[in-house]
Amino acid sequence: MNWTRKDLLALGDLTADEITLILDTAAGFKVVGQRRLKKVPSLRGKTLVNLFVEASTRTRTSFELAAVRLSADVVNITASSSSLAKGESLKDTAKNLEALAADLIVLRHSAAGAAQFLAERLRAGVINAGDGSHEHPTQGLLDVFTIRERLGRVAGVKVGIVGDIRFSRVARSNIQALTKLGAEVTLIGPPTLVPREFERTGVRITHRLDDVLGELDVINLLRIQHERQKAGYFPGTGEYATLFGLNAARAERLKPEALVMHPGPIHRGVELDGSVADGPHSVILDQVTNGLAVRMAVLYLCGAVPTEAKG
């Protein structure tokens, strides 16, 4: 199959074949990351702009490193340091960047749909690094890559996603990728944070972690955000940890080969205990390494779409 997208906006847009192509490409780039010379010339002469309207050091650094390893030139723009703070519209900011000949723009924004908004208006390729609660495609991809690498497959794998699904772009991207590749997905959390509407995507929902813990091949713990507590979605981190935290006792009941994942940053003692985060089931650091390979693959593929196609 041929990759024809100049943008990566949402895993919801991709076919299973396209997702598999990205994963296969990422495998090649992971090898590059393991050699002494970690750089390839694929994007030499291209300019990538990290436009992070919503702050994130981790994801931005990962994209920056991915771009640099592809030999691209990188410019970092954060909201506070940009004209956006002075009231320039997102569209005007991006048009200015394009006039400066940006080839790829990595966008993180607090508004769902922001990446699509830009992609429709720019010739440059737009990579969604997180748009509000909608999607975080490269996170979804690196999670699936990690599962595939460790377990040899995705189809039929029983994956549990725990936590604040309602407001989580990581959850949405994971749900898209996993269901398309044939995994069996269970969402776990309080009803206030796990909307029933997700059942229509083919996932199962349960509010009792202990009921399903023993059958999962993968457990992916999402970060609990304080804003939800203030807004009245759950009483407090203490109660959350008791009901849904992957503590040491629960970790004992996991299948021996089960993987523990977390997009980071971790709230030790809330989503999971420190001992579990550092324990034998945890692949959290692999996720970070794989994130770099996945991002290189995404930049390579979107950067390779013929310029005529960029309209």
């Binding site: 041929n2 192509l21 490409t25 780039f29 694929s42 390579y300 013929p306």
Partner: protein, 178 residues
């Protein structure tokens, strides 16, 4: 893959086998005393050829290791091609320092593929030496690179494609002009 143009056969299966034998003979001569040797096929058909050369060199008493070097990340035409080039596996020795690497490909024409392959190998380390072996040299150089070992030289029209077909990949054997 079907071509809209009629294809004419330049070499049949027997001819291909003969060419591979001839290439192996030249390699034995050229690599005398060299060790260890790594045959790095350039995907897709170079990889198949490298495997075949490994057997026929072994039959001549020369032991080599065999693998592949993918060049997708090293191409100089990213964004200019209609189809995005898929990244494939690279399999090279862990520590390249002592090795003599022989790049293996089916057709040599412009030299750009070989250049990319050289750079790809160098990205992995610093081999003792790099050689370049091809089944067919069809001429039409665009860079100052030429193969060290060639089985045969064939030419086709400037607007024609030269296609090598191998059983493992194409289900048939031969060299065709399309």
């Amino acid at each position: 893959m079907t071509s809209s143009m009629p294809s004419s056969q330049l070499l049949d299966a027997a001819g291909v086998e003969l060419a591979i034998e001839r290439l192996s003979d030249t390699l034995v001569l050229g690599l005398e005393g060299v060790s260890p040797i790594f045959l790095a096929g350039i995907p897709t058909r170079g990889v198949v050829l490298a495997k075949r050369l490994q057997s026929s060199l072994a039959a001549r008493g020369v032991t080599c290791d065999c693998g592949a070097v993918d060049i997708a990340m090293y191409r100089d035409d990213l964004g200019l091609r209609e189809e995005v080039v898929v990244v494939r596996d690279t399999k090279l020795p862990i520590n390249l320092e002592s090795w003599t690497v022989v790049l293996v490909d089916d057709v040599h024409q412009t030299g750009r593929t070989a250049r990319a392959a050289i750079e790809a190998v160098l990205g992995f380390g610093r081999p003792r030496r790099i050689f370049y072996a091809v089944l067919v040299d069809r001429g039409g150089r665009e860079l100052p690179i030429r193969p060290d070992f060639t089985a045969t030289e064939l030419s086709v029209g400037a607007n024609s494609q030269m296609r090598v077909r191998l059983i493992e990949v194409d289900g048939e054997e031969g060299i065709f002009e399309e």
